[in-house]
Subunit: 180 residues, 2 copies
């Protein structure tokens, strides 16, 4: 449950965009970090280091679209394991499982192919940002409907004030950087 | 302009889904390949090998969402270079450039942050599938509005019957697998 703060010069590339996607929200824009080859490399190596230090030993990485794909796919390559996309409704072409979750106003859902993960697999969930944890909790539920095990939830950045970590209390949860 | 066919056992994992996303279309589903750690690794290594063989020497990889992110981010990590997301409208938070392109019925658009790519950069475009080439041509135009250079367009899979390669004739275009 530790939060490792490293590579401050890379984290300094994350910029605040006020009033996006709506007034009053400050969006954390990680695209300048991704565009820096050294920082991108360091971020993925640091995520891999958390996996090793915490002995997560995943068989697969699963990620919600779309920014999650960026971190998760590079980390899957780094670890030599497979990658499973978790998508918004009606994007995946084959037989799907779906989990719905509440938003501030309304409902959203995530979907995964029913044959994507064999029972008993050790699955690591990866996304860029832990805010309220609603999306990630739904992803964890999707994995568990496959009788697979969520070995951890891994993030680049955590907004600690939103208590997403409490929502994911059933799983080892790690972020490289935590901000209020 | 060569098409390298390798790793047939991995390519055999790509499955046809008839009538997705609409009747008459046969969707090429690459998710079983992505979920196989060895094949995912081999695919990215093969994409990296094309970059080296063709001396593309990119400074950055740019990809359209969302499946493009999976291949492109892993390849950016493999090559030690930065990653730039190209997104559907209204997803990116900062000042954006936009290019619209025609669909069979209607118009779609891709957007990129205006400060994402410095002039003169060598940019490699990556996506999973080359069909008509419309999205990739729009991505190339976006990169060129930054006075940057598109050094190539790289795909896992090419549907040769749709002549997407002709639309990208201005750029070195490579696919690991070509099917009719």
């Amino acid at each position: 449950m530790t939060t490792t703060v490293l590579l401050p010069s890379c984290f300094a590339l994350i910029r605040d965009i006020p009033d996006f996607p709506k007034p009053g929200i400050v969006f954390k824009d990680i695209t300048p970090l991704l565009a820096d080859g050294c920082c991108f490399q360091a971020m993925i190596e640091q995520l891999a280091a958390v996996c090793e230090r915490e002995r997560l030993n995943p068989d697969l990485i699963a990620c919600p679209e779309a920014r999650g794909f960026i971190l998760g796919a590079a980390l899957a390559f780094r670890l030599g394991i497979g990658f499973v996309p978790i998508r918004k409704p009606n994007k995946l072409p084959h037989d799907k499982a779906r989990v719905e979750y509440a938003l501030e106003y309304g409902v959203d859902a995530v979907e995964m192919h029913r044959d994507a993960i064999a029972p008993g697999r050790r699955v690591l969930l990866v996304d860029d940002l832990l805010a309220t944890g609603g999306t990630m909790a739904a992803c964890a539920q999707l994995v568990e409907t496959h009788a697979a095990q969520v070995v951890g939830c891994l993030f680049l950045l955590e907004l600690a004030g939103l208590s997403g970590r409490e929502r994911l209390a059933a799983y080892p949860t790690h972020a490289l950087l935590s901000v209020v």
